[in-house]
Subunit: 213 residues, 2 copies
């Protein structure tokens, strides 16, 4: 079986899940924490080397305060849960704003936990435009920008799995996603089951790899 | 009905179509010319303002010579056919190579034909890395790169339709595609029917628009 080296996770549908369970929208996010840990463990079991979670974006912070507080806390809790596992955590996002949670500043360079192993990236207060604008130490003499984007330490993605039925990237890592196969799960992220993950792997196994060739 | 302002077309499956019709792979491309004209006319009818066709990429030129000749000629013929219509044509691609057909050099600034109207863009000898590296007149003082990418004259895309069943962007305009809804047609591009197009529009009409918000 051909297994992806790097999976991107777009955990969408938390608010729709909350509404469909008679909760206010902001209550959905905390039910998305455990699915993240489950996906991590499945990646570990399948020897997937890297997994990137779409936490929240600069755009998302325009939402009502109670939602903003809720998704920020869910992201902090998700990262903290993983510090108890064997993994290597990196948080990428625009730290030059109060919307970036200070609790996650120590993770903006990759940190090893336990015996290390699986690389886990979280996009936190991430923005695709911010990403593509350049790092302060960029060398412009060759006009090659890719070594200087903010997410340069995140590798190319082979498979993106999006929950919640929408068929779009919503600004998720435009450079790393150029060749990614895109699998959509119709159910909402808090309803995650391991079957979602294995169905995606089975589907990926049937795709060819051309890398644009 | 909510109609996209800008549609991206990934006309994939020409070679698989040729094989399934007992032809050699290179013969498929010429059967992709007419579908392009049909899509253009449908866009015109539906008042879609801009359409971008994925012609061929820098990566594609690694293919066998007879295929390379065939897809290059099919792209030239497709552009020439459109010069007889009311439209405004722009060709974007890396012209600093013999792989870029000299016949298309006059179209590298937007040219109006007939009464103008629908903008039609072709990506010809395009590469996402080439696109994201910067124009020679880039002003780096603000480190904002987006005004200086090679495809800066192509607007944001609302809907991408890909024929041939694959669920990936394959390097198609990473910046303009960040929020695009992505619709996949399983049949091969030379088997195009107007129903493919209208099914995609119907599907698009049912998606919400959040632009990452």
């Amino acid at each position: 079986m051909r297994v992806p080296e790097h999976i991107g996770i777009i955990p969408d549908g938390n608010r729709r899940w909350a509404l469909s369970n008679n909760m206010t929208k902001d209550k959905g996010y905390e039910y998305g924490i455990n699915p993240g840990l489950e996906v991590f463990k499945l990646c570990q079991n399948e020897n997937i080397k890297e997994v990137t979670f779409y936490g929240f974006t600069v755009d998302n912070t325009k939402r009502p305060t109670e939602q903003k507080l809720a998704f920020t806390q869910a992201c902090i809790d998700s990262v903290m849960l993983l510090t108890k596992e064997d993994c290597e955590i990196l948080v990428i996002g625009n730290t030059e704003s109060n919307a970036f949670p200070k609790e996650l500043l120590p993770f903006t360079t990759r940190k090893k936990f336990g015996n290390g192993g699986t690389k886990v990236n979280f996009l936190i207060h991430y923005g695709w435009e911010w990403d593509l604008n350049l790092l302060k130490d960029a060398d412009f003499s060759k006009k090659h920008i890719l070594p200087y984007i903010h997410s340069k330490d995140i590798s190319r993605i082979d498979l993106i799995i999006r929950w919640g039925g929408r068929r779009r990237l919503s600004g998720f890592l435009p450079v790393q996603s150029v060749y990614a196969d895109f699998y959509v799960v119709d159910s909402y992220w808090p309803s995650f089951t391991p079957k979602d993950f294995y169905d995606a792997l089975d589907w990926y196994n049937k795709q060819d790899v051309t890398l644009g060739g």
